[in-house]
């Protein structure tokens, strides 16, 4: 991937005009950087706007769920248990007699929190460890790579069930901590590869020749050029982490009631699918649309950053 990002930079610089005359590089005709180029590509894609809008909407309602839901998600009446849609309760009621619509709206917060916390954690930890091990190499690389192999050796779902049942977890914090703990090695590998390619480039050599220190080279020269794969992977991973949280809740080790989350509602509804399919539709639909939005956004960003696929 990094060798393609170079191609983008080269493509972005209009060194020679079609008639063969060199193009004067002034302020109005600045060479486009990789990021300008990617943005130019993204701003022309409807998929990008749709998925970004979905995600924006999701973030807004997870901060202010009251905006579109007037009821209390924990205000339930067993007399309504499994009742189908009615006026004022368009999505019907769940097993406990709670309003499905209200719970779906309020459930967004837990999923978004798990997704954002764990992705941020994984991205920071993975990028730092992977970046350092790729840049310095040697014994640091060996140690970090072996440690990441160890965490990589544990299938994530199994590890999650074991870890979360051992710590008696069940909060956004414990679930996110676990995802960070087992998720970072994959990103570290990606970041390591990207940094190894970036550090061989001439501009890094030039910076070194000018007497730049490790810190400056890493932050000013390598990080901006190795960031693309990290961002793409993190965006897609955010969606899968949200899905993972739901699966862990289904297995009874994720979030626990009275917390309101899509995972809890989906697993409660899934077991009742024969009696009341409407209970499953809304939380599962909301979760799937969210995951889909993040995957599509990641795909769009990758296509924009990687010209090989165009």
């Amino acid at each position: 991937m990094p060798e393609n990002t170079d191609a983008v930079i080269l493509d972005g610089v209009p060194a020679v005009a079609p008639d063969g005359a060199p193009v004067p590089v002034d302020k109005r005709d600045k060479p486009r950087s990789l990021w300008n180029d990617a943005w130019y590509d993204l701003s022309r894609k409807p998929i990008f706007y749709i998925s970004a809008l979905v995600i924006l909407f999701l973030i807004v309602i997870s901060i202010w769920p009251g905006l579109i839901a007037s009821q209390d998600p924990l205000q339930c009446n067993l007399i309504d248990s499994q009742n189908g849609p009615s006026s004022g309760h368009w999505f019907g009621f769940d097993q406990q007699g709670c309003d499905v619509y209200t719970r779906t709206v309020y459930g967004a917060r837990a999923s978004v929190e798990v997704g954002i916390f764990s992705t941020l954690g994984v991205a920071v930890l993975g990028a730092v460890l992977g970046g350092l091990s790729g840049y310095f190499g040697g014994w640091l690389d060996s140690i970090i790579s072996r440690v990441s192999d160890i965490f990589f050796g544990i299938p994530i779902l199994l590890g999650g069930v074991v870890f979360l049942s051992a710590v008696k977890g069940g909060s956004v914090l414990t679930v996110s901590t676990f995802i960070i703990l087992l998720g970072w090695p994959q990103l570290a590998r990606i970041a390591r590869g990207a940094v190894i390619t970036a550090k061989e480039q001439d501009y890094v050599l030039a910076a070194k020749a000018l007497g730049a220190g490790h810190g400056r080279i890493l932050l000013r020269h390598i990080a901006p050029n190795a960031l693309a794969p990290v961002i793409v992977w993190s965006t897609i991973a955010l969606g899968t982490f949200i899905s993972l949280e739901a699966t862990l809740s289904f297995l009874g080790v994720g979030l626990k009631p009275p917390a309101v989350s899509w995972g809890i509602d989906i697993s409660a509804a899934a077991e009742q699918i024969r009696n009341a399919p409407h209970m499953l539709l809304w939380p599962a639909g909301a979760l799937s649309v969210t995951v889909l939005a993040f995957i599509l956004l990641g795909d769009a960003v990758r296509d924009a950053l990687d010209p090989k696929l165009r």
């Binding site: 072996r146 590890g159 739901a246 077991e271 799937s288």
Partner: protein, 307 residues
């Protein structure tokens, strides 16, 4: 090649020790195996102390781990909550999960690769876009939701298959569970094959093959497929480990008494030997599968040679 295999096997040892120690740490240091034996009631302090001594729980953790590993290598995985030995649980559970995994992998290979080849060669056409969208939907919906929905539709509503699996779990009852287990990976296989095929259709060797006037099926099978399937084979190989781990969800939905079921029971009842034992074996399977993939890589791609 021989030296490479030996080096890889040696490298596997620290990873195996590290991964199993991590699991061991989670179960024995973060959880409390003795309190778990008593369920909801508080254990009698004297009895608890006696059990702790018997299970070596007063020793430092690394020593407990060494004792555990020594026992494992003599074939003693400890006792499950119902008094049965963990080894006998494994003997009944692993064949079931292996059968389930085989069904899932067959689905991945047959459906995933065919769809990938078809869409890769018809890039940009409506059927390509349709399949691509379908794979995205499959990836986005959590497996347990798809599992319950398919079980409801095929098993209950239309009655095509039995909604739950008998304890013997013969192959024909595992078709639907295998499909559910495979679905997400199947979508990935399709996308991966599609990208790979689309990339290779533009390769020089393929143009040469066409220019030589080779028949179409020969071009596709001998030239295009052989080169495009290398990344797919790698994916399917590493997927074996994930499938066996993912079986914990599928087995719960369809009530299959395999590895995932036993592991889940072990966790539910806080039975440390069951959990650590099963996960240890699964980690080993996962590592071996990764090694096999690396070796297969050299066989499939003659440009790669391991010294």
């Amino acid at each position: 090649m021989g030296r490479y295999v030996i080096r890889r096997l040696l490298q596997m040892i620290p990873v195996f020790i590290g991964s199993t120690f991590l699991i061991f740490f989670m179960v024995y240091a973060l959880g409390d195996p003795v309190a778990a034996l008593f369920g909801d009631r508080a254990p009698d302090p004297a009895t608890a102390a006696q059990i702790r001594a018997e299970l070596h729980l007063n020793d430092p953790l690394w020593k407990q781990y060494l004792i555990y590993m020594k026992n494992i290598f003599t074939g003693d995985f400890g006792t499950a909550f119902n008094g049965e030995s963990v080894v006998s649980l494994m003997r009944s559970a692993f064949p079931v999960t292996i059968r389930l995994t085989i069904v899932a992998i067959l689905f991945e290979i047959i459906i995933g690769i065919s769809l990938g080849v078809l869409t890769g060669m018809r890039r940009g056409k409506p059927d390509d876009t349709g399949v691509l969208l379908l794979t995205l939907v499959v990836i986005s919906v959590p497996t347990f939701v798809t599992g319950y929905v398919l079980q409801y539709l095929f098993g209950v509503q239309w009655g095509w298959v039995s909604p739950s699996v008998s304890p013997e779990a013969p192959f024909n009852e595992l078709i639907l569970p295998g499909l559910v287990l495979a679905l997400v990976s199947l979508a990935y296989v399709t996308r991966l094959t599609r990208t790979s095929i689309a990339e290779n259709t533009r390769a020089d060797y393929l143009r040469t093959a066409v220019a030589k006037g080779l028949p179409r099926h020969r071009i596709i099978i001998r030239h295009l497929l052989r080169n495009s399937l290398i990344p797919v084979v790698t994916f399917i190989g590493t997927d074996v480990g994930f499938l066996m781990g993912g079986a914990i969800v599928t087995e719960r939905i369809f009530n299959i008494h395999g590895v995932g079921y036993q592991l889940y029971q072990g966790i539910l009842r806080n039975n440390a030997p069951t959990v650590v034992g099963f996960v240890t074996i699964l980690v080993l399977v996962f590592l071996l599968a990764n090694l096999l993939v690396d070796l297969l890589y050299a066989v499939l791609d003659p440009r790669i040679r391991y010294a």
